[in-house]
């Protein structure tokens, strides 16, 4: 466990914890963005450069901006005060502990823990491109079709009818 890993892990955890804890929704989104940056840096630290860049491109350039827009167009920018109710906290902690326990148990039992891994293969963007265009071309195309359908649906929902006043 290197110092770099510890710093990045700390950044990610701090960002996500702040995203849950802060009162102002916009602050929450910005803190979550910090968590996304930390995650992207962790990917790069593990040698998955492509995944890291795509994480930044999609989650910061897309998701964070979208979340910010959604909050601003649906709510006033004033800070909201949410009383933290006790049952909510208890339930949340229980669910989180349960998920963590299951994941930890699965990882521990999988045999990946403690095994000496061979030197990690360097995956270039070119290899990912070949895999997507040759082996997985059908899933890729289906995904594209699904997104196009979603896009057209969004336009149909948002478009003004003819004659309707704007």
């Amino acid at each position: 466990m290197t110092i770099t890993f510890l710093i990045l892990a700390g950044l990610t955890i701090a960002g996500t914890v702040a995203a849950m804890g802060l009162r102002n929704l916009i602050h929450c989104v910005l803190a979550l963005t910090l968590g996304f940056v930390g995650l992207a840096a962790l990917y790069m630290h593990l040698g998955a450069q492509f995944a890291g860049f795509v994480q930044i491109l999609v989650y910061i350039g897309g998701v964070a901006i979208l979340a910010v827009f959604a909050i601003m167009t649906t709510q006033s920018a004033e800070p909201v005060t949410r009383p933290g109710s006790a049952p909510f906290w208890v339930a949340g902690t229980l669910v989180a502990t349960g998920v963590f326990a299951v994941l930890a148990w699965a990882i521990h039992g999988s045999g990946a823990h403690g095994r000496v891994l061979p030197a990690e293969p360097v995956v270039t963007a070119q290899q990912i491109g070949f895999a997507l265009m040759r082996g997985y071309v059908l899933p890729l195309e289906l995904m594209g079709l699904l997104l196009t359908v979603a896009l057209i649906g969004a336009v149909v929902v948002a478009i003004h009818e003819r004659g309707e006043s704007i």
Partner: protein, 394 residues
């Protein structure tokens, strides 16, 4: 090593010479610092030159003198500007979100600087040669949008919020064609690494270079890329986010003193980074324009091309009026975006056709035909030329 090569590699040689004095354990860190610090000094310096160049150039276009009081011909104006913005009072609105208000300009400048990590400014002169360099560049530029939003929202002013909204809508719309225009080069070079892309263009047939701009798809891609880059850096004619007559100065209206200067710096650094990426992708990076000019150091060519593109930006700013919001969006989604997709198809056809004049003819027609059809369809809206109706201003 001949003198010509020596001059070309002088900075690399000096760096290795200095690095030999550093203890072995510290060498990676020292190497990184020695690569980053020159970029951190050089490009703000270029920004200073650009500001005076822009003010002088715009003044010429508008029949004025421009700044001519500080130093000979006003070339020391940036120093005066810098001192002025450093000594000005830093005013933060009382209702502003103090923390976010402070972080926004810092994030903007950081994001603008990060893009330079993958720009090769000379032969063997790049901070990191990443495997996915082009992707890194576009990923980082999406951080700018977040910084713009933070600035606009934290100021708690309706003008800055409107400015931020406009800026983000515009940046998202033009980021798509910007990336798609770059795709043709990635297809042709077969790599995402900026260094490999430049190397793929650094050969000559006869005296002429193999730059990607000298192909039908490359020329179209370059033109589309530059239009999208102008919009992406919020420059005229796409400067709605800071439209003075409507929303005063957009998202940085509530900033003063040095924070305002940081916004200015970030904006120009972003413009220069995108221009540098255009040079890397289409204009051969540091490669000389003719084979008999290869004795001139590679970094000279890079900065010459960069200054030429900046002058182009200034010229356009002095020439074209500002677009309306609907024109901006129509232009992006109905013209630029389809053209980039057609350009990608043309690049694919070019790749698989045998070399010769037929390849030129087919690809040129594939681009020119849709260009004319799309241009007519979008500019006349299918109604022919008519007196413009104003929906909201009767």
């Amino acid at each position: 090593m001949s003198h010509v090569q020596m001059l070309d590699q002088i900075f690399v040689i000096v760096k290795h010479w200095l690095l030999a004095y550093v203890p072995a354990g510290w060498q990676p860190l020292a190497s990184a610092v020695m690569s980053v610090v020159p970029v951190l000094i050089l490009f703000p310096l270029l920004f200073a030159i650009t500001t005076v160049l822009e003010r002088k150039g715009l003044a010429r276009l508008q029949n004025r003198y421009g700044p001519n009081r500080v130093g000979p011909f006003g070339i020391l104006q940036p120093i005066a500007d810098g001192v002025k913005s450093l000594t000005k009072e830093d005013i933060v609105p009382r209702s502003a979100d103090q923390m976010v208000h402070l972080l926004a300009p810092l994030l903007l400048v950081t994001a603008a600087f990060l893009g330079y990590a993958v720009i090769p400014i000379g032969r063997g002169m790049v901070i990191t040669d990443m495997n996915g360099g082009v992707l890194f560049f576009f990923a980082i530029s999406s951080l700018v949008e977040l910084a713009v939003f933070m600035a606009g929202w934290s100021s708690r002013s309706k003008y800055s919020l409107f400015g931020a909204m406009r800026a983000i809508a515009q940046m998202i719309s033009y980021e798509v064609p910007l990336v798609l225009a770059a795709v043709v080069v990635i297809m042709a070079a077969g790599t995402l690494s900026t260094v490999s892309i430049v190397n793929a263009q650094a050969s000559y047939s006869g005296i002429f270079p193999h730059w990607f701009v000298f192909t039908p798809w490359g020329f179209t891609g370059f033109a589309l890329f530059m239009v999208a880059a102008t919009a992406e850096s919020n420059r005229s004619p796409f400067d709605l986010p800071e439209g003075e007559s409507e929303i005063i100065a957009g998202y940085y209206i509530e900033y003063s003193g040095f924070k305002f200067a940081l916004f200015f710096l970030g904006e120009y650094l972003g413009m220069m980074a995108t221009s540098a990426m255009a040079i890397t992708l289409f204009l051969g990076g540091w490669a000389a324009p003719f084979s008999f000019l290869t004795w001139v150091p590679s970094y000279f060519w890079f900065f010459a091309k960069l200054l030429a593109l900046i002058c182009g930006f200034i010229w356009i700013r002095g020439t074209l009026p500002r677009l309306r919001m609907d024109q901006l969006m129509n232009f992006s989604w109905k013209f630029i975006l389809p053209m980039t997709v057609i350009n990608i198809i043309a690049a694919g056809v070019w790749r698989f056709m045998p070399m010769g004049p037929w390849r030129w003819l087919v690809c040129s027609l594939m681009i020119a035909g849709p260009f004319i059809v799309l241009g007519r369809a979008t500019s006349w809206q299918g109604k022919g030329v008519a007196v413009r109706k104003y929906r909201y201003a009767e």
